[in-house]
Amino acid sequence: MRNKVAALIIMGALAAPAQEPFEALSSVKIQLPPDSPVALLSADWKQSRTAPRGGALILDLHTAVSLRNAGGRRIRGITLQVLAQEVTPGGRGSVTVPCLNVAPGDSFPIRIDLRLLRPLPAGAGPLVTVSLDGVLFEDLSFYGPNQLNLRRALTAWELEAQRDRRHLGAVLSAGGPAALQKELLAAIARQAERPRLDMRVARAGRATNFEAERTVEFAFLRFPDAPVEPVAGTARITGFEARSPRLEVMNRSGRAVRHLEIGWLLKDRQGREFLAGSVPAALALAPGQKSQVMEDSTSLRFTGRPGLGLAIDSITGYVSQVEFADGQIWIPSRASLSDPRLLRALSPSTEEERLIGIYKTKGLVAVVGELKKF
């Protein structure tokens, strides 16, 4: 390890960057539609650099884009699409900021820290295009092309934020700041206990280990208020990989469902349980109807820190999100999530994580102030 570090230091010294001034205007383009509810105030590129590396060019783009709410409604979330069409035409990136509370006329920053590595020579057009993909307002209405299909996620995050602010507000009202502090400290402790994992998602057939594959029956956590109930399910497990989930679900609500997400809780052979991700599925599920959810083309591979494979023992599924045909979204209640297994395994919601961050950096008074803003 020490030799590797030494080698890296030597290589780093040999490859000391010959940095060049960054030409923002020719390298980056920010596109906002004419009727956009946000207006660009400024974009500071001073920290950005370009540097040649052999036959390639590295562009380090660091900016804080300042936007103003140019509409008449409060903004709750925003997604910017980051596209490097000439460099990586097969994909795109996005930067989303949920849990906002931006009043009309107010401004807010969005940080973009981006690194591009592209072969030389560079083309003539801009390397990066940043465009508006969507804005979520306080009434849950939405503006934008939604090319990245993040509208549903933005809405769910906002619903979770409302739910958790209500919960923490109730804790504050009932027990005062001391009770709120206890709640936040418990969330921080759970966050610290959660195993740090890396994941790999690959197309089926790309498994890289040699253990025999076995089929495992799903166990389910059932929420009394969930509109969709998982009935049965299996997945195939090979050592560190889980793949080919097949789930049967039933719509027990009186409304048609068009999308759902099933969360996966995996238990390793040491008995540790963690959230592995979710399986989204678009479907047309009428009231009372059953349907199959299958995903044969992918596999999930898990790696613990520092890089050791994590052997999977069993899988538990739960319904984490449901979208009805009319666009309304259901998320689990705090009571449902208070199941000890879920509490241990799930990350806090985006809003809970924001409030924890504020508590860590600014203290309890700032959290109380934040709760009173909404």
Partner: protein, 188 residues
């Protein structure tokens, strides 16, 4: 505070420090331009090394390659013996074998060292050749030798999410803006 040592900066760049030490040093690095540039240089060098390793043919089996080279050397020596002894040699055959084997060992060890994969999240999805991956510094999209990486640079807790339909996400609390920021890379 004095500047961190070069070794510490290299460890920060590689994401190999413990949580507390990383947090303590990262506070300095964020506010110190020379140190930040140093970390970025280490990070770039590390990525260049990884890139070079990735560009090696995936199907190369170094053990087999070494065995084949050794076999060819032995075959050559055996063929030389078939045509009879050479009257005048300035270098003993034993030295030749040793030099050849040393070269082979250098080649094999270099290849093995470069071929070690760095711990990262990897998503292969969408069009062939499009790879989504995540490591300690950010999540990225790699295609045909070019790449785009969204860096978070957060010393705190990050939450990674993988969507089986072909996207990777990372969520973190930005201490500068006081906002939660979520990065995604999507394969088309």
């Amino acid at each position: 505070m004095s500047h961190p040592s070069e070794i510490d900066l290299a460890l920060i760049a590689g994401g190999e420090l413990g949580a507390w030490r990383r947090f303590r040093l990262w506070r300095h690095v964020r506010s110190c331009d020379p140190c930040r540039r140093e970390v970025e240089a280490f990070r770039a060098a590390r990525e260049s090394t990884s890139e070079a390793a990735r560009e090696l043919p995936g199907e190369v089996h170094w053990g087999r390659l070494a065995a084949e080279i050794k076999a060819n050397i032995r075959l050559g020596l055996a063929a030389g013996e078939c045509v009879g002894p050479v009257a005048e040699t300035s270098i003993q055959p034993g030295w030749r074998v040793a030099a050849s084997l040393a070269s082979v060992m250098v080649l094999v060890l270099s290849g093995w060292w470069l071929y070690l994969p760095a711990p990262r999240i990897l998503t292969q999805a969408g069009e062939p050749g499009v790879i989504l991956e995540a490591d300690a510094s950010g999540i990225g999209l790699r295609e045909n030798g070019a790449s785009m990486t969204l860096m978070h640079g957060s010393p705190g807790v990050i939450t990674l999410t993988a969507n089986v339909q072909g996207s990777l996400g990372v969520r973190y609390f930005d201490t500068e803006t006081g906002q939660i920021t979520i990065h995604h890379v999507h394969a088309q």
